[in-house]
C-alpha cells in the first residue's frame, strides 16, 4: 500500500493528477503499466528467492527438462505481456494524437531564451493579441497550440493537461490541450535550452467558458490609461527609459518585440517566466537587478532612483 500511495502524487505540475482529457488518458495507461510492472518485478524477485533458497540440489535430466519448460513459459508470458502493453500504448497514442476539430481555439506559443510568448489568433485581425508566460483556456474546449522556436530547442509541457512537445527551430509542431476542470496549472520547459533552462516556466489558467469569454474581451483591449499622477509619472519613466525598445504596451508608443508584451502585465501571477510572484517588492528587484535573479537573461539592469522606481512600479501595476 505504501507503494501505491508513493505514486499517488499531487501538485500543480504533476502528471499524476490529470486535469485534461489527454493527461487523463495517459494517466490510465500509466496505471496499467505501473500495476503490470510491479507484478512482474515481484514475480521475478520471488522466483529468484525460491532459486536461492531451494534445498534440493540433485541435478537430474528431469530437472533440466523442467527448467527448460519453465524458462520457455516465462519467455512466452513476457512476449504476451509486452504485446498487450504495446497494443494499449498504441491505442492510447491514437486517442491523444493531434487532430484539431473545427471550432478549436488556435494559439501560437513561441519559446524564447528563457520565456514563452503566447499569441491568440483570430480571423479578425483586430481581435488578435499577444501575452507572455501565461495561457488562458476555457474548460471543455479543445485548444490547438502551434509551437514555434526562433532560437534553440525548448519543450512545452503542462503535465496536468498533456504530455510534452518540443519546439524545434525549423520544425513547427503543435499540441492540444483540453482542460476538464477549472484551475491553474504550471508547466516548465523540459528540453535543456541553456543557462536559465530552470527558470522558464508558464501558467495555464483553465477557466469556465463564461470567465474565459470575459477574460478574452478584456485581454483584447489596449492597456488602461494611467489614472493617478503617480501612474502618469511612471508611464513617463517607462517611455523615457530603454523599456519600450524591448516591450510592447498596446495603446501606447511602446512597441518593442524582444521582451514580453506588457499590455496586461498586472494580471499576471508571476514575473521572469514563473520565477517570482508578481508583487511589488519582487518586481522592483527584477527591474533594478534582473541579472541577480536570472543571470544571462536579456533584461538589462535599470538605473533608476527611488523617485522614478516607485512611480514606474505603480504604472506597471495599473496595466490591468
Amino acid at each position: 500500500m505504501t507503494f501505491v500511495t508513493f505514486f499517488a502524487g499531487s501538485g500543480i505540475q504533476s502528471a499524476l493528477e490529470p486535469a485534461g482529457a489527454h493527461a487523463a488518458r495517459i494517466g490510465r495507461l500509466w496505471d496499467v503499466f505501473l500495476i503490470i510492472s510491479a507484478v512482474v518485478w515481484l514475480l521475478v524477485m520471488i522466483a529468484l528467492f525460491i532459486a536461492l533458497a531451494r534445498r534440493k540440489r540433485e541435478e537430474t535430466p528431469d530437472g533440466a527438462a523442467r527448467a527448460r519448460t519453465t524458462v520457455s513459459i516465462a519467455t512466452a508470458i513476457t512476449l504476451v505481456t509486452l504485446a498487450a502493453l504495446l497494443v494499449a500504448s498504441v491505442l492510447t497514442g491514437r486517442a491523444i494524437a493531434d487532430h484539431a476539430p473545427p471550432g478549436t481555439i488556435q494559439l501560437k506559443v513561441t519559446g524564447k531564451q528563457w520565456w514563452w510568448q503566447v499569441e491568440y489568433d483570430d480571423p479578425d485581425k483586430s481581435k488578435r493579441f499577444t501575452d507572455a508566460n501565461e495561457i488562458h483556456i476555457p474548460v471543455g474546449v479543445p485548444v490547438n497550440i502551434q509551437l514555434h522556436s526562433s532560437d534553440v530547442i525548448h519543450s512545452f509541457w503542462i503535465p496536468n493537461l498533456n504530455g510534452k512537445q518540443d519546439l524545434i527551430p525549423g520544425h513547427d509542431g503543435s499540441i492540444q490541450l483540453q482542460a476538464t476542470r477549472p484551475g491553474i496549472y504550471r508547466g516548465q520547459c523540459a528540453e535543456f535550452c541553456g543557462l536559465q533552462h530552470a527558470k522558464m516556466a508558464l501558467w495555464v489558467h483553465a477557466m469556465t467558458q463564461s470567465d474565459y469569454a470575459n477574460w478574452l474581451t478584456a485581454a483584447r483591449q489596449p492597456s488602461k490609461i494611467p489614472s493617478t499622477p503617480e501612474q502618469r509619472k511612471g508611464e513617463e519613466v517607462f517611455m523615457s527609459s530603454p523599456c519600450p525598445l524591448c516591450h510592447t504596451i498596446q495603446g501606447t508608443d511602446a512597441g518593442g518585440k524582444t521582451g514580453p508584451d506588457l499590455t496586461h502585465f498586472a494580471g499576471r501571477r508571476s514575473i521572469a517566466a514563473g520565477t517570482w510572484p508578481n508583487r511589488r517588492g519582487y518586481l522592483a528587484g527584477w527591474i533594478v537587478d534582473p541579472q541577480h535573479i536570472k543571470p544571462g537573461s536579456q533584461m538589462p539592469p535599470m538605473l533608476l532612483d527611488e523617485g522614478q522606481l516607485q512611480p514606474l512600479l505603480a504604472y506597471l501595476e495599473s496595466l490591468q
Binding site: Q13, M45, V71, V152, S155, K164, G170, G173, R186, C189
Partner: protein, 639 residues
C-alpha cells in the same frame, strides 16, 4: 578443491625456460620503458585505473549536483557551474568511464580467458590507452579553466551552435568525443581479431565463455555505432570552426539531423555498456553457483539479438520531437521487444541458480543486486517505450532514475562484482570479503535511496537539467532524500576502493585459482607471467578447468626467444599458424602525442590539421617501419 590449487599450464618445466620467456615477453628496461610498454596486462591495468579516476571525478560532480538540488532555491552552485557540471558528469560517465572500463577489463581478461599470450595489435592497445588518457585530461584541464562544455552530454544543436555557444566549450566536447571514439574503435577491432583468431585450440565458437561472447558482440556494436557520433562531432566541429552549415537551418542545415546521428550511436551505447556486464554476470553466476550456465545457446542468441535490436530504437529518445504515429509505433515495438532477450537471460540465470549451489560471496551479492535493480530499470524502460507515457516522462527525473537503474544497476554492479572476482588474478591477492559485503550493502541501499525517489519526482513534474526549483513545487523532501542516498552510495563505493587499495598490498595471497573457476584465465599464476601461459592450454568444453585439466593436452613448441602467438581458425579454433608478435615501442605513445596534439591545436586553428596530419603520419611510419625479426631475448637493451 583447495584454494591454492595450481594447474599444469601455470608451471614452467624449468626456471631457465621461465626466465627466458619473461625476458622475451617482458618490458624493456630503460628510462622511457614506461611509455613503450605494450602488453595487455600492463595497459589493461592502467586503463582500468584511469577509467576509475574519471569515475571518481564524475562521481564527485554528481555529489555537487545532489548538494545543489537538496533544497529549493539553493545557491551552492551557479547556473553556469551547474550546467557545466551536469554536462561533465554525463560526458565523463559515458565517454570516459562506462565504455572504456568495459574495454579495459576485456583488454586484461580476454587474452587470458582465450589462453593466448597477448591481445592482437598490442601497439594499438597502447595507442588507444594514451588517446583515452589525453582526451580525459584535456576535458578536465578545460573544466578547471572554467571552459568545460555546458550543452549537455547529448550536445543538442542549435544550443551548441556557434551563435548560442560562443567560445571553446563545445569544441572541447567535440574533440573529447574524437579522442574517446578513436580509442574505443581501436580496442574494439583488437578484441574482435583476438577472439576470432587467438582462441586456444579446441575453443570452437560454441565453447567460448559467455563473457567472451559478450565482448565479441559489444566490439561489433562499437564498430557500427561509434562512427555515427564521430560524424556528428566532426560536423559540429566544422560548423563551429570553419563555418559549414550541417546544422544551421538558415543555410539549409537541419537541427534534427544531430539528434538522429547522436542517438543512432547513443542508444547502442547503452547496450555497449550493458552487454559486457551480462557476460560478467554469467561468469560470476557460473562460478558461485558451481554450475555451468543453463541455456548457453539461448544466452548467446539473446546477446546477439540485443545487439541487433539495440540499433533499431534510437528514435525513442525523440518521441517529443513530433514524428508520425506509424513511425513511432515501430520504435515502440522495437523498444519493448528488446526486453525479451533480457528476460530470457534473467530466466536462464535464475534457472542456473536454482539448479546450482549458490555461495553468497561478494561477487554473487553484486550480481543479485544487479538482478533486483536491473529488472526494475528494464520495466521503467518498457514504460518509456510507450509513446504516450514517454511524452509525460521524457526529460524528467523519471528518466534520470531509469537510466541510473539500467547503467549503475545493469553495469556498475556487475562490474564491481567482476572486479572483486578478477582482482586476485590481476594482483595476486584477494580482496577482503567482509568489506566486500559491507560495500555491497552500502551501494545497494544508497543506490535505491538515491534513485527510487527520482521516479516520483519526474511524475510530479521535475524536469532534468534544472539547477534549481521553487519551494512551491513540493520537490524538496524527495530531493533531500535522494541527496542523502547519494551520500550512502558514495560511502559504499569508497569502501570498495579502499578495500581494493588495501588488498593490493595486504590482501591474502590468492594462488592461481582461488574461486575454483572454470575458465582459462585461472589456469595460470596470479598475476600471470609476462607470457601468460607456458604451454598453451587446449579446451574441450565451455568449462575447461572443471573437466580434469591435468589430462588435457597442451600446445608446446613455441619459440622461447621469439614472441610467437598461435593463430587458430575462426570457427573450430584448429591451430593454423604461428604469428610473430611485435615488440615494445615508444612510437605508439608518440603517435598518440601527435594525434592528441593535433586534436587540441584544432581547437584554435584549422591549420593544425595539415601540420598535425604530417607529424602523425611520420610517427605512424616509424611505428610501422619493418624491422627484421630478431630474438627478443637477445636484443640489445635500450640505453
Amino acid at each position: 578443491m583447495s584454494a591454492m590449487e595450481t594447474t599444469p599450464y601455470a608451471l614452467p618445466d624449468s626456471d631457465a625456460e621461465h626466465e627466458q620467456l619473461q625476458k622475451t615477453w617482458g618490458p624493456r628496461r630503460g628510462p622511457f620503458s614506461w611509455f613503450s610498454q605494450i602488453d595487455h596486462r600492463t595497459i589493461g591495468r592502467r586503463f582500468i585505473v584511469t577509467a576509475f579516476v574519471w569515475f571518481g571525478l564524475g562521481g564527485l560532480l554528481a555529489a555537487l549536483m545532489r548538494i545543489q538540488l537538496a533544497k529549493p532555491n539553493n545557491t551552492f552552485l551557479s547556473a553556469d557551474q551547474y550546467n557545466q557540471i551536469f554536462t561533465m558528469h554525463g560526458t565523463t560517465m559515458m565517454f570516459l568511464f562506462a565504455v572504456p572500463v568495459m574495454e579495459a577489463v576485456a583488454i586484461y581478461i580476454i587474452p587470458l580467458m582465450l589462453g593466448t599470450r597477448g591481445l592482437a595489435f598490442p601497439r594499438a592497445t597502447a595507442y588507444a590507452y594514451y588517446m583515452f588518457l589525453f582526451g580525459g585530461t584535456m576535458l578536465y584541464v578545460a573544466f578547471f579553466l572554467n571552459m568545460a562544455p555546458d550543452a549537455g552530454w547529448f550536445n543538442y544543436v542549435p544550443l551548441s551552435a556557434p551563435q548560442f555557444s560562443p567560445g571553446k566549450r563545445i569544441d572541447i566536447w567535440a574533440q573529447l568525443v574524437n579522442f574517446t571514439e578513436i580509442s574505443a574503435l581501436t580496442v574494439a577491432v583488437e578484441i574482435i581479431v583476438t577472439i576470432f583468431k587467438q582462441r586456444a585450440p579446441g575453443m570452437s565458437i560454441n565453447r567460448m565463455p559467455l563473457y567472451v561472447w559478450s565482448m565479441l558482440v559489444t566490439a561489433f556494436m562499437i564498430v557500427f555505432a561509434m562512427p555515427a557520433v564521430m560524424v556528428a562531432s566532426n560536423y559540429i566541429g566544422l560548423d563551429r570552426l570553419v563555418g559549414t552549415h550541417f546544422f544551421n537551418k538558415a543555410e539549409g542545415g537541419d537541427v534534427l539531423l544531430w539528434q538522429h546521428l547522436f542517438w543512432f550511436f547513443g542508444h547502442p551505447e547503452v547496450y555497449i555498456i550493458f552487454i559486457p556486464a551480462l557476460g560478467m554476470v554469467s561468469t560470476i553466476i557460473t562460478v558461485f553457483c558451481r554450475r555451468k550456465i543453463f541455456g548457453y545457446t539461448a544466452m548467446v542468441l539473446s546477446l546477439v539479438a540485443t545487439a541487433f535490436i539495440g540499433f533499431g530504437l534510437w528514435v525513442h529518445h525523440m518521441f517529443a520531437t513530433g514524428l508520425p504515429q506509424s513511425g513511432q509505433s515501430y520504435f515502440t515495438a522495437a523498444s519493448m521487444m528488446i526486453a525479451v532477450p533480457s528476460g530470457v537471460q534473467i530466466f536462464c540465470w535464475i534457472a542456473t541458480i536454482a539448479m546450482g549451489k549458490p555461495e553468497f560471496r561478494p561477487p554473487l551479492m553484486f550480481v543479485l543486486g544487479f538482478v533486483a535493480i536491473f529488472v526494475l530499470g528494464g520495466l521503467t524502460g518498457v514504460m518509456l517505450a510507450a509513446v504516450p507515457l514517454n511524452l509525460q516522462l521524457h526529460d524528467t527525473f523519471f528518466v534520470v532514475a531509469h537510466l541510473h537503474y539500467v547503467l549503475i544497476g545493469g553495469a556498475v554492479f556487475p562490474l564491481l562484482g567482476a572486479l572483486f572476482f578478477w582482482f586476485p588474478k590481476m594482483t595476486g591477492r584477494l580482496m577482503n570479503e567482509r568489506w566486500g559485503h559491507i560495500s555491497f550493502w552500502l551501494t545497494f541501499a544508497g543506490f535505491n535511496v538515491t534513485f527510487f525517489p527520482q521516479h516520483k519526482l519526474g511524475l510530479v513534474g521535475m524536469p532534468r537539467r534544472i539547477y534549481t526549483y521553487l519551494p512551491e513545487t513540493g520537490w524538496g523532501p524527495l530531493n533531500l532524500l535522494s541527496t542523502i542516498g547519494a551520500g550512502i552510495l558514495a560511502l559504499g563505493v569508497l569502501c570498495f576502493v579502499v578495500n581494493a587499495l588495501y588488498s593490493m598490498k595486504r590482501g591474502a595471497i590468492a594462488g592461481s585459482n582461488p574461486w575454483h573457476a572454470p575458465t582459462l584465465e585461472w589456469a595460470t599464476t596470479s598475476p600471470p607471467p609476462h607470457y601468460n601461459f607456458l604451454h598453451l592450454p587446449t579446451v574441450s568444453s565451455t568449462e575447461p578447468l572443471w573437466d580434469h585439466p591435468e589430462n588435457a593436452p597442451v600446445v608446446t613448441g613455441l619459440a622461447l626467444k621469439k614472441r610467437e602467438v598461435l593463430i587458430t581458425r575462426l570457427f573450430d579454433a584448429e591451430p593454423d599458424h604461428l604469428y610473430l608478435y611485435p615488440g615494445t615501442t615508444p612510437w605508439a605513445f608518440l603517435s598518440a602525442v601527435a594525434t592528441g596534439g593535433m586534436f587540441v591545436a584544432l581547437l584554435f586553428t584549422p591549420w593544425a590539421l595539415p601540420i598535425g596530419v604530417a607529424i602523425a603520419t611520420t610517427t605512424l611510419l616509424c611505428w610501422f617501419w619493418p624491422s627484421s625479426p630478431r630474438d627478443e631475448g637477445e636484443a640489445p637493451e635500450q640505453p
